[in-house]
């Protein structure tokens, strides 16, 4: 009995912790915006670009997404309170907030109408606000940025928390200070002398759930249709960042390792049942002899021992289930994984262990049933 309890508790613990780990890693990935798809035009195959209107059309024709956003980067300088700083200005649509790691501390992110109306508004990082204005709460303030010989005025609509990029530039920028800001790509194009309809050749699709495969399959045809690039193989689509793929393959490895461990544990549990049944048959040889002398048929003995094996493994399964859930709950708490119990998993484990118990109970039960009553009665 103990063998089965430990076996099943071990299997369940491993599986539940495995599930918890996957759920935790998945939610971490969501929080850093890993659920995205990159789309770009292959400039060796086409010289087309994507217009502002086409971007909106693509966005409207793919279901199940937050939105899409291009991501342009322009480099300029700003004369701020603490001297002149270099600035990376990222141009995107309002959906870029889904890129992750964006936590607003003041004001708001720029909006859809800001994008549509080419509003020269900007969201600054805390560091950027500090360098340009000397303090953080600068919503509504304006500053001028020089880029490629053009000077444009931007109005601050929001301040966001510094992200890893800000921190990286702060660390490695040396004497030069580089700060970050985000603005509507329409306004950026307008300010720095681009034609807004001829400089976008890539964008990112932000997913609102885990329907990545569905979106992947739809995105290509939508993009090819809208851009008139059918059959030219000029659209490159990659499912998220390399980080995403690496994580996924690591998760797959973990899943298979967990499955192998689970299978071994179940096997060990089954062999435990067989041992217990064999011992039980040996201990009760005399009882079997008595039963046979009283008229028990081979099948009656077989049924009795199989039923006992089933009850044994089922009871052991239930107790092991309780232990397994308790242990995994505690472990998940300690290592800060989410505690997820899939009911079908629990049912499956108990069912499989009972089945294994029965399977491994057959051999000793058959041995018991075939005992010669005279021999069996002679044993003490």
């Amino acid at each position: 009995m103990l063998g089965i309890i430990i076996g099943i508790a071990a299997v369940l613990t491993v599986l539940i912790i495995g599930d918890g780990m996957k759920a935790t890693v998945n939610s971490e990935m969501d929080s850093i915006g890993a659920t995205s798809i990159s789309v770009s035009l292959d400039n060796t195959k086409t010289d087309k670009t994507i217009t502002k209107q086409q971007l909106r059309d693509i966005e409207n024709n793919i279901e199940g997404i937050y939105g899409i956003s291009p991501s342009t980067t322009d480099f300029g300088t700003v004369v701020g309170r603490k001297g002149t700083v270099d600035m990376y200005m990222t141009g995107g649509s309002e959906s870029m907030i889904e890129r992750g790691q964006i936590k607003m501390v003041h004001g708001r992110y720029f909006s859809r109408s800001d994008v549509d109306e080419d509003k020269r508004v900007v969201v600054l990082s805390q560091t950027a606000a500090d360098y340009i204005f000397g303090y953080e709460e600068v919503v509504g303030e304006t500053f001028e940025m020089d880029c490629y010989g053009l000077t444009s005025e931007f109005t601050v609509v929001g301040i966001r928390e510094d992200n890893t990029m800000d921190k990286a530039y702060a660390l490695y920028g040396g004497d030069e200070v580089i700060v970050m800001g985000e603005a509507p790509f329409t306004a950026v194009a307008d300010s720095f002398g681009y034609d807004v309809d001829s400089y976008i050749s890539s964008f990112t699709i932000y997913l609102d759930s885990v329907n990545k495969d569905e979106v992947l399959s739809r995105a290509r045809s939508v993009v090819e249709n809208i851009l008139g690039l059918r059959g030219e193989n000029a659209v490159k689509i990659s499912s998220g960042s390399g980080f995403d793929q690496t994580t996924e393959s690591i998760l797959n490895i973990i899943t298979s390792v967990v499955a192998i461990i689970a299978a071994i544990s179940l096997l060990v549990g089954g062999i435990g049942v067989m041992n217990i049944m064999t011992v039980s048959v040996t201990e009760r040889t005399r009882e079997i002899g008595i039963r046979k002398s009283l008229g028990a048929r081979t099948s009656s003995i077989l049924t009795q021992f199989l039923a006992e094996a089933a009850i044994l493994t089922f009871t052991g399964g239930i107790i092991g289930m309780a232990f397994g859930m308790g242990i995994s709950f505690v472990i998940c708490r300690i290592v800060d994984f989410s505690f997820v119990v899939r009911p079908e998993l629990v049912v499956l484990v108990v069912a499989i262990s009972t089945a294994i118990g029965l399977f491994f109970g057959i051999y000793p039960a058959k041995r018991a049933a075939k005992l010669d009553p005279i021999e069996a009665l002679r044993t003490e």
Binding site: G289, I290, S293, L294, G295, A296, R297, T298, I374
Partner: protein
């Protein structure tokens, strides 16, 4: 008197070949319905083999065994089980009760294998236990009872299904004098109630309680007499 047991020229040979042991050597024996027979012999005389043969626990190497006119010499395991269940009530020297079951459950066992309904089983088992004077011990397990009481449970188990033959193998071998008397008294009563009783023993004191005494040695029947000292 109707023939119940007919053993015709039965041999049982172990280790056939050079070192063969003839446990039964051309035994012929007839026992009628309602007889009270003791089979007496020393250890190694073949009486246990004869008892196993009579109880359908074993099959002869040669010869025939008819029980109730049915040839039971060559049957499968399951057929033997069915015959034992229907025809024979065993009373063993070591009681052979199942330790994990109560007295009542032990008595019900052969009825379970016969397929009797739960209600009927309980009725039969209760009346069998009453008839051996164990009304108050029904829920006791074997280790909570004395040897004499355990043997009475075993007798109740043997008679619950009302088999034609009671086969008692050294029924008092493990008992003290008082319990022995009690068990012999019950066995005699069962005989008077019309059952066929066969006692296998090495003890002449027990054997002379029976009406007919068959002596066996070296696998052969040496004598088969009506007991002149038999008292009702």
């Amino acid at each position: 008197m109707k023939k119940l047991v007919e053993i015709k020229d039965v041999c049982k040979i172990y280790n056939p070949g050079e070192n063969e042991v003839r446990a039964l050597n051309h035994v012929t024996l007839t026992i009628g319905e309602g007889e009270f027979v003791a089979i007496i012999g020393q250890s190694g005389s073949g009486k246990s083999t004869l008892m196993n043969m009579l109880g359908c626990l074993d099959t002869p190497t040669s010869g025939k065994y008819f029980l109730h006119g049915q040839d039971v010499s060559h049957m499968t395991d399951d057929e033997q089980s069915d015959v034992r269940n229907r025809e024979i009530g065993f009373i063993f020297q070591g009681f052979n009760l199942i330790p994990s079951l109560t007295a009542l459950e032990n008595v019900e066992l052969p009825l379970i294998y016969r397929g009797v309904s739960k209600k009927e089983r309980e009725r039969l088992a209760n009346s069998a236990l009453n008839s051996v004077g164990l009304e108050k011990r029904k829920t006791h397990k074997p280790n909570e009872m004395s040897g004499g009481q355990q043997q009475r449970v075993a007798i109740a188990r043997a008679i619950a299904q009302a088999p034609p033959i009671l086969l008692a193998d050294e029924p008092t071998g493990n008992l003290d004098t008082a319990s022995t008397k009690e068990i012999i008294r019950i066995i005699k009563r069962l005989y008077h109630e019309g059952r066929t009783v066969i006692i296998i023993t090495h003890d002449p004191g027990i054997a002379k309680q029976a009406k007919r005494i068959i002596t066996i040695s070296d696998g052969m029947i040496q004598s088969d007499i009506i007991n002149p000292d038999y008292k009702e």
